[in-house]
Symmetry: C2
Subunit: 238 residues, 2 copies
Amino acid sequence: MTKSQPKYRIIANKILENIQDGTYPLHEFIPKEIDLADKFQVSRPTIRQAIQILVSEGYLARRKKSGTWVQSTKMTQGFTHMIKSYSDEMGEKGVIPKTEVLNLTKITATLEIQSALKLSVDDTVFALTRLRFADEIPVVLVTSYIPTKYLPDLDQHDFTKESLYHTFKDHNLALRHASRELEILKADETTAALLQVSLNDPIFYFHTITYLDNYAPVEYSIAKYRGDLNSFKIEINQ
Amino acid sequence: MTKSQPKYRIIANKILENIQDGTYPLHEFIPKEIDLADKFQVSRPTIRQAIQILVSEGYLARRKKSGTWVQSTKMTQGFTHMIKSYSDEMGEKGVIPKTEVLNLTKITATLEIQSALKLSVDDTVFALTRLRFADEIPVVLVTSYIPTKYLPDLDQHDFTKESLYHTFKDHNLALRHASRELEILKADETTAALLQVSLNDPIFYFHTITYLDNYAPVEYSIAKYRGDLNSFKIEINQ
């Protein structure tokens, strides 16, 4: 995939490797632009663009008089403050998203799903399991349950290419509110294998109910984000 | 501490033990009120109060026609959607909070602290480390950095009895905004020992900057919440 990436993205990924392998340690300054330009044999504007990307992704922070330092070794996800499609969010970060669809079937709602989506015993839902990548690295494994009454032909869509949220939008289903509950999970064999982590590695474990304008629940999802790669930002005002 | 607790709290804790040991499994119904009253040899109003507490803490959920089921095996923390003192939050949940102060000293701000609190190289901060309990079980280990310029006599306070946020309030420092970043950490020896978990157990790792009305940062805190006991609720509107 690398050849389709612009030069500044390639350099950003190289700097990121140096952040993640500890060459540029957490909370310490990275080298000056001119030294980075020399190290990576590119122009200063390219370095500046690469740094800008890493600032917007939350890895680096910058203050005019002090310089640029390592703020986080992880990718900051907006999942905790907005309802946005994975591909849109990755696109804004400048990384290349990829989605594998592991399962898309119609099932009868279990008690847990009935309760989350306010369904009756006989109601059916689509169960959609997707593994999602950023620059070829698995980031999140997510299973969504969607009542079949909203989108009866959901299983006709190709979610390796289409976004579930864009599909909602195309059917005039406007998402207005999401209620997420966050726990930590230790990866079992399946999750470890799919997310390419070790058995028992810690995983962010989100349960989310997403609602339409009229507060009817339209999606219940269970997402497992790799603990080693992701961080979440939460803003509180009162 | 138990003898100071009301009867419904004691029963709530017994039901909670049954939730956490799997007697009442996640997402399954718990027994009817009348059967619980019989099991615990208390009146039905006491059972009803106990269930109400566990619903408000997020462990149980209820629907009129269906019954009451286990929603979560963990204590839901409001930390992700409000700025509130730990003791106030625990008080609302009906559990008995306790705080141990492990450290309270004046130090020179490191680069990380300077950056978070917008301080200069020579500025000093108070470093306050507290271990906080709910019903005698350690829940969170938190270190707060507070610029000495705001509260020069902070080290004269007894934070086993006083709340830091109430102290801010008493000095007319109104907290308006908090920016939290969430990661997962594996417990090292110290954290494992203090939080009474095993080495490498997963921990919620929050970095928070709290701001005054005028967006001046007044506290930088690093909190480690036990991964096995806590969950966090996040509401998103757009």
